[in-house]
Amino acid sequence: MNRYDLIIVGAGPSGLSAAIEAAKRGMKVVVFDENEKPGGQLFKQIHKFFGSKEHRAKVRGFVIGQQLLDEADEVGVEVVLNATVIGLYQDKEVVVKIGDEVIHYKGDSIIIATGAAENMVTFPGWTLPGVIGAGAAQTMMNLHGVKPGQRVLMLGSGNVGLVVSFQLMQCGCEVVALVDAAPRVGGYGVHAAKVARTGVPFYLSHTIVKAEGDNKVTGVTIAQVDSSFKFIPGTEKHFEVDTICLAVGLSPMSQLLKMAGCEMEDNPKRGGQVPICDEYGRTSIAGIFVAGDVSGIEEASSAMIEGRMAGVVAAEYLGYVRAEEMEAELSVLDNALDGLRQGMFAPKNRGKEIAKTEEGIDISKNLLLHGFVGDDEIERFPGVTHKVGVHPVMECTQNIPCNPCQDACKKGCISIGANITSLPIVVDNSQCINCGMCVASCSGQAIFLVDEDCGDGTATVTLPYEFLPLPEVGAKGKGLGRNGQIVCDAQVVSVKSAKAFDKTNLLTIRVPKEYAMKARFFKAV
């Protein structure tokens, strides 16, 4: 039987991160993954990540995936693909199906990093071809270059539903509605706002009554639900769609741990059946560790840190690193993870309704109900100020762990401060030079450069634009408000695409000056 110091199951963000830390310390490591390619779901993530520099903020997910693979390669991690781990038995015996063969391995330590699987909801017609998971949509469009459909209805307003809706539009699909049975948008407000401003209507407190079609989806009916999630008669709405996309949460894939005899618990805060483990992933069985979504649903950035923690802890378990060195390493990783677990969306706040920001400002009600901040609400946030000349307007209204904007501005116009979740503020007496770096670096696409009065009755608004075709200078169209409705005429006066912007184009539109603080998207006509 082949023996390894460490066997890792799952070559996603946490598994690869664990492998890197262990291999760096001299361990003989193998990673098994059932997929054809490594990286887990990272290669389907085409948006810029949140966090700070140490979390690789503003880098797109698939780029982070490639960086991880390169790093794993450098330190000699062995990754075996198309290898499904089908059993985890006593004394850390791992049984792997590779092709038609079943092979037994022995690990002196094990890290389970199997991630999570999508949840589903059922409704009449849910098995029809055309009803797909949000992950399936990402796989088809971002890995295989095939559109999941033409007209899509998204169910789920968590970050997955919001991000995937945006991605569907980026690949040329039309998203006809974003629907959630919950009374409030579940994901980041900035993700919701960038979808809403393109004109996608949000239906909160609504869910699917039925999918229609004989051999494939041809339509869908939704209806409003009351506080006990019962349909309210007479509130039905119908949409012609060919695709219904489900983004209704994730559940840990923890079966191997249960099989191995680890103590488990049902913990809704962590997403379902999870192993009982300490903060560094030590399960109830000595030498078996966990990292990433399998021990509690979060996201890729924290999974990578948890992976590094598990890798270091496994190294110490087998004596490849001294306890003091491990402690020092863990305290650095603790800080990094702690930074990500702050703010309104932190795991500790899951399910809580938060009415005010850390600064004591009322949260936008429109944002939670309709996906956009109302024109009458936006002025109360500290990133939104008025000045003569071009200046940044930061429509960042919730405390989330993210700060690339303050590093992006070389002129010091933007400050978040030491607390990573603080809302950005415009620094007094700073001079914006209209470079656009803040607009391109905001992972939430929430920063605009506005010249409120050009002196001729017009204003200019520079906005982030990640769609094709890219409008040309001179193109005439309409300015859309935060709610996605047409508010005014608009003409493109500048289009900037620079390597430093990393595929986020900067579109500057000229609008009547009374719409300077209202127009936030451009639609060619």
Partner: protein, 109 residues
């Protein structure tokens, strides 16, 4: 038929594909790219129904696209229950709608 292949993506650019090849779906010739999942090639050709269930004869197509749910299984080169979303396409493949676990429609079984 609507265009389902993404020609150019604003973030990913023009995605590299393998050779353009031919295979058959229920005996009819279809084009796809070598190495992409069979399901992707079918989807791009607008073919959505992969199989009909054994008991109730209900249609099924792509659902999870990562080899987990088994909704997309078909009869490929004579072998039933092939997960088309994770099986790479090869030139000349014989891909058939699966009825229950057979490639014969129910009235001929």
């Amino acid at each position: 038929m609507p265009v389902t292949r993404i020609k150019e993506h604003p973030i990913l650019g023009v995605q590299e594909k393998g050779n353009r090849i031919r295979f058959t779906f229920d005996g009819k010739e279809v084009e796809g790219y070598e190495g992409e999942p069979i399901a992707a090639a079918l989807k791009a050709a607008g073919l959505m129904v992969h199989r009909y269930t054994k008991k109730e004869h209900k249609p099924r197509g792509i659902f999870c696209a990562i080899g987990r749910c088994t909704d997309c299984v078909m009869v490929v080169d004579g072998i039933p229950n092939v997960r088309t979303c994770i099986t790479p396409l090869k030139s000349g493949m014989d891909v058939r709608t699966q009825y229950g676990v057979s490639d014969k429609p129910f009235d001929k079984q």
